[in-house]
Subunit: 220 residues, 4 copies
Amino acid sequence: MKRVERPPILLTGFEPFGGDALNPSQEIVRALDGEIIGGHRIVGAVLPVAFASAPPLLDELIEHHRPVLVLALGLAGGRGELSFERVAVNLIDARIPDNDGAQPIDAAVIDGAPPAYFSTLPLKAIVADLRARSIPAGLSLSAGSFVCNAVFFGLAHRLATHAPRVRGGFVHVPWLPEQAARHPGQPSMAQAIMIDGIRAALACAIAVRDDLCESGGTIA
Amino acid sequence: MKRVERPPILLTGFEPFGGDALNPSQEIVRALDGEIIGGHRIVGAVLPVAFASAPPLLDELIEHHRPVLVLALGLAGGRGELSFERVAVNLIDARIPDNDGAQPIDAAVIDGAPPAYFSTLPLKAIVADLRARSIPAGLSLSAGSFVCNAVFFGLAHRLATHAPRVRGGFVHVPWLPEQAARHPGQPSMAQAIMIDGIRAALACAIAVRDDLCESGGTIA
Amino acid sequence: MKRVERPPILLTGFEPFGGDALNPSQEIVRALDGEIIGGHRIVGAVLPVAFASAPPLLDELIEHHRPVLVLALGLAGGRGELSFERVAVNLIDARIPDNDGAQPIDAAVIDGAPPAYFSTLPLKAIVADLRARSIPAGLSLSAGSFVCNAVFFGLAHRLATHAPRVRGGFVHVPWLPEQAARHPGQPSMAQAIMIDGIRAALACAIAVRDDLCESGGTIA
Amino acid sequence: MKRVERPPILLTGFEPFGGDALNPSQEIVRALDGEIIGGHRIVGAVLPVAFASAPPLLDELIEHHRPVLVLALGLAGGRGELSFERVAVNLIDARIPDNDGAQPIDAAVIDGAPPAYFSTLPLKAIVADLRARSIPAGLSLSAGSFVCNAVFFGLAHRLATHAPRVRGGFVHVPWLPEQAARHPGQPSMAQAIMIDGIRAALACAIAVRDDLCESGGTIA
């Protein structure tokens, strides 16, 4: 008799861009891929840093895996903590080309879509939980206007229009120490702390439906 | 027959201050105490955050252990990398009281001493070595005017006047992640990275006398 | 025979808050009140820093004056340039109480309204124009979640629903020098520069409809 | 009968460097040249941004004018207030070439000179006075290791060795607004405020010998 598996958690990162040899979001996804959180297996995927191809690929992943929760990760060099984005805006305004060489200016992410979406994750509970776990974390009111925001917006729009009961969100992560070593004076975060933080955020996002999100509590 | 032991390395940190429950410099010292670097045993010591008692205690430690090298560590909340101080100034100007409640204003660290001392560590070699090891590190031109600078100045003066062949220096370290979790938006550094960085800095400072300071090289 | 007057420009600022004795946005409004820009008289108004009363007061002002253009100004201590906000979000999350003592958390500005509005001013033309006039200016993707954003959102919603042909926007301004003198290390901007910048922004916003917005050009 | 003139105040700035078309320190010097402060005429001079030629030129100016007070000004792009330097260090470590193409690394400003000099101006009285006058001002513990620090060090050494009763100091000033307009997000200060601030600082430095340095007081 076939065992019914719980729907997975979809966790995405990005490939390196802007001349960097690695991207911490990719490393986190690789590390957590296959782990089980609250009975849900994490399916990791790495997206291209490209306006044209990243959103449809994410749509396909959602269509294929039918996840219970989707968390997308991206790099925000210069920030010092895990930065939980509250809002995705329907705006692309690229100051550098993406990895395909595209650099749209003042464009919509999706024509005809709403101007913005709010994250549907329990962000304040997550940030409180991470801080109680000694992991630097905070809220952010802007995910920028580059591919990170476009993926966050595309994700939110997809869920709103195709799977309204599925939670989704976006986290910007700092540079890895090896990256900051080449950017004097810039903050960074050790990969192990990022991984612990994202794992805890996922656990909290799953558990909060049962009011279990408390650090040191019953979250496995 | 008595075995002749090489002189030790003296490594100092500070106790917590300013309302914090811990001080990363103290944690680093505890972690490295007793390790052997280039044949020299690390002797760790924790200093009080007090203008009156820290410098004489450091003098006693130098007198007692007769180290080959002295490195003092302190916390600089808000910096994001290991910050190697180039110069100690003969100035105390405290914006908050020390742990004894003393708050000297516009005072000399040591009356009659020179206005400043430069670090005698090979700072650029160390910073290059740490960056090659993927550890965020940089140079700094000011250790402030609080107890950190006073200890650095007292150390430099003691060595200059009593042990001119002994190298000495000071490193400011970032907040630990668990501290930054209570200071939203502030940078931090994982304890393991700090420990690796200070260990490598000591190895480089010892080895540079033989031109061996190169990351990935023969430094044990 | 009655002379038909062109519709005015409505320019709003805020009263002081957060313990400050003055608010640069109020000073700018007072200075520009009554000036004529492109044939349109500026009507200045000062809003309370209060979630409950500022938006309805702004609605009344729009209703009464039937302006051709509305620009709201607010203080963003810590920023160093005139900061033209691109997007208003339907979110209130106050970290300090407003001047009425209200501190809403995770609330909508207007229940049932869209999640966000984009500024309808020609922001890039304005910023380019100001920079060419040697006035520090930039774009911003977040007006925060305090009264400034609430007023910006309320303004945008009012115009979208009642006067869709009227342009509206929001500018965050730095501290005045006399305020920065009490906030060591913080950036500021001279009042005269702010006034010149806002005047030029209004002229550009009016003129751009005829493609005249160019610094050094025909803008009066 | 010849009227005995009081000795002048020597005020120096720098020519532009690093690709900038102007330097605020030069503009301030031009504006204040010839003014009378406390009976002392200001003699303004503009120094080259060159390690080899700036210090000897300053020595000649001191030798020629025999000033009662010397204040040197320089640009520190990125700072937001008038920054009164407390200490000059005997160190040159240039990250970019000077205007002659020289880029000394880890060199002394003056071989055989002391490691540092402290400013002999009443810096805290000046900063308090400026803040009371609503002018953003602060103290700094590092003038860097480029030409600014070299001129400050050379000035302090000259006065200490040749004219120990003459006060001397250095002030770093922010970018002008027209410069910040080309450096998005950077702080600036209006030229008129810089001029007022330096004038008040000179008045305070002259007056403090008679304990008259109080804003709103008898300083003309």
